[in-house]
Symmetry: C2
Subunit: 425 residues, 2 copies
């Protein structure tokens, strides 16, 4: 099986100022193409460290994907390190990339600076895949079998995420043209509302009887519940492996019932969007403690304007009463964090937007701000339609960010359940 | 200088199903404590790969921090690999961790399962730091100088992010108790509105004359602009290094003027929050294309209820007219994506919430949906106060997610500028 290593270069990663998301995107694309990622590595903007680390990765993998350190600024030294690693004697200018650089800068009305021109200059030991989305080209270094004990190829990509991802299709085509690539099968089952350990105990007998060569992984995620991933690594034919995984997923569905909300890698917001679009129904949101996160999640889905009408984030009580029409007496008697208030919020936003469904939250994300009866981490969630309004109380024990995420994902899950129930009759 | 490597273990990272955020948090904490992170590595749930990779990291670093692979499920094999690496002859039960496990499960009303009890069992070669936030304890393996050429310590942490982060203080105390730790100085300057290459060209002479031992890094971020980071690695005294960095930041402020919006590691939303709280002013938002993201960013700041009143996400035109009071003729004549509409949205949300300031967006995030005059990527941003309403047109060329981020961050930046101007007279 063709094996790859992914290396990100940049001090900013090692001091923790940015989170590396490129490696995750790249590995997903490589896996889908049947290339196994064995390691991911982040190293400093340090010439010796880059050369030493990349040499080791090339010894152990036939493909090494490098991102970062190609920027126009002085702290970026990947290109010089790759020139040394590959024994380049000089640099050459790639005319196709130079034209792209011209185009990008003139479209933005910017002058062409020397640092921009230098981006098209590459070691004479590499092939170039032009980068249409930015100024730094993709460099391809091919090493003969004599160098690392087997033929190996290093691809150097820009660190800017959308440029790195934009180059992936070209790189995977190049890998497939030069290597024998077998198939990997992955299938993901999405669950919500059950903790990892309880889930594991519940499905242990099923897991123990999985066919040889089939692997199960648990992937807990605060926004989408616990994902279960079944994998087979190209030991049989792709069709046979898909059939085997499909059979195991059927057994799992019988075991877990409606804890499973999707049998593909999915998000709650995309699932809700599909259900609403299919039924020709619309939704709105009234958010207090979630502060806009539910709306941002719902509208992250392309085409969401088809079913999402809008929302009110009512952080202050005056917006709850004045905009959403929650009676002041409701807040006075029961408090803003109450079943009564969240029901009125859900009904109010449905009335003012004219949506078929709505979801509302009112809670205390923390830190601090709660009471003995309603400690930080408490949330009331309401879901409403013309068939009625239901409310739920939940409690979580995290920091502010984690609580907001849990509030929002549980609200979306309750909304999903209500939509499924009322649109599939 | 004490050097550390951070290793995350888990197939889910290598196939790209989750993004590793632990390494970033851990490295930030280590750097702040004066420990240099030389590498980050992600490896598979594979016993041989774990043992081999951790051995290499222990040879090259005196500290190795491992996260992940300690869950209660069968795919987690880190503990067994560490037992083998450290030459353990048996397992022992840590009574303190067992008590914590009891407490966590009974608080949740759950039965104690065998898999839960097994979490308190550790190789006899390790010391335990109890984990109060979860069931898997932190394991500390100390290797004498004879093993890897120098004394080295491996800390194994749970992979669940809030548990891993919760253990960091204890681990850093332990590192400081056993190693000589020198100081690292980092200072970050935040800029907005200038591309990395233009910024680099503008400050090149200053950069070239930086004192020896001082390093500059450029960290572009779609949400907060380009961060500039100055670092010194403990060659002089901490006070001396801080003074030197301070002097360079003063020069940079003279060069860049109001492109710099903060001289510490900051977010636009936190900066806006401080300005509003200081001035005793309030804010609201009317969002169309940003779909709740501006609100979610503003409310991510603890204490934001002091100055943030609420928002309306008006995705449909009926919410723009019905809730925000945008005249139907405005939309009919100029379209929803227009200076006129976004001004009415900003004024409307200020009126219905009673806030002092407001920000509004209307644009086309894509994919598709635009026209020749207003292609996808176009946004109108409005900012309003009793002193008046201003609107701005901007254009970005990214995918949906990236466009939404750019729209939201530019809206926050324009809001910040208006607040600064009007509250510091």
């Amino acid at each position: 099986m063709t094996q790859a290593s992914i290396c990100t270069i940049g001090d900013e990663i090692l001091i923790g100022q940015i989170v590396d998301t490129n490696s995750s995107h790249i590995s997903r694309a490589l896996n889908a193409a049947g290339i196994q990622v064995t390691r991911m590595l982040s190293i400093a903007d340090d010439r010796a460290a880059i050369i030493s680390a990349l040499g080791t990765e090339l010894e152990n993998n036939s493909i090494v994907i490098v991102t970062g350190g190609l920027g126009p600024t002085k702290d970026d030294i990947t290109k010089a390190a790759l020139a040394e690693l590959s024994g380049a004697s000089s640099y050459k200018t790639d005319q196709r990339q130079l034209e792209i650089i011209h185009g990008i800068l003139s479209a933005r009305g910017l002058d062409l600076l020397e640092t921009n021109i230098a981006q098209a200059s590459v070691p004479d030991t590499c092939e170039v895949i032009p980068n249409r989305l930015g100024t730094a080209p993709v460099m391809v270094f091919r090493f003969p079998a004599g160098k690392y004990g087997h033929e190996s190829t290093l691809y150097s990509l820009p660190g800017v995420p959308f440029e790195a991802l934009g180059a992936l299709d070209d790189i995977i085509s190049d890998i497939k043209a030069h290597n024998h690539v077998s198939d990997i099968c992955h299938r993901t089952v999405m669950t919500f509302g059950m903790a990892e350990s309880a889930l594991a105990e519940m499905i242990a007998p099923w897991e123990d009887s999985l066919p040889a060569g089939m692997h199960l992984a648990y992937l807990p995620n605060p926004l989408n519940g616990v994902r279960l991933r079944l994998s087979m690594y190209g030991e049989g034919s792709k069709e046979e492996e898909e059939r085997m995984i499909e059979a195991e997923i059927s057994k799992l569905q019988n075991l877990l019932g409606d804890i499973i909300w999707s049998c593909c890698d999915d998000t709650l917001e995309a699932c809700i969007g599909r259900k609403l679009a299919e039924a020709g129904k619309t939704v709105s949101a009234a958010e207090s403690c979630t502060g806009g996160m539910i709306s941002a999640m719902l509208t992250s889905v392309p085409g969401s304007s088809e079913y999402y009408l809008g929302s009110v984030t009512s952080y202050s009580n005056s917006v709850k009463t004045g905009v959403l029409g929650v009676p002041a007496e409701t807040i006075g008697t029961f408090g803003a964090v109450s079943s009564e208030c969240v029901a009125k919020m859900a009904e109010g936003v449905r009335r003012i937007t004219g949506s078929d469904f709505s979801v509302a939250t009112s809670g205390i994300a923390g830190p601090g701000g709660g009471s003995k009866e309603k400690p930080a981490g408490t949330v009331w969630i309401g879901v409403s339609s013309e068939e009625g309004t239901e409310t739920y109380r939940m409690f979580f024990k995290g920091d502010r960010k984690r609580n907001i995420e849990r509030f929002a994902s549980n609200a979306l899950n309750l909304l999903r359940i209500k939509i499924c129930k009322e649109t599939t009759k």
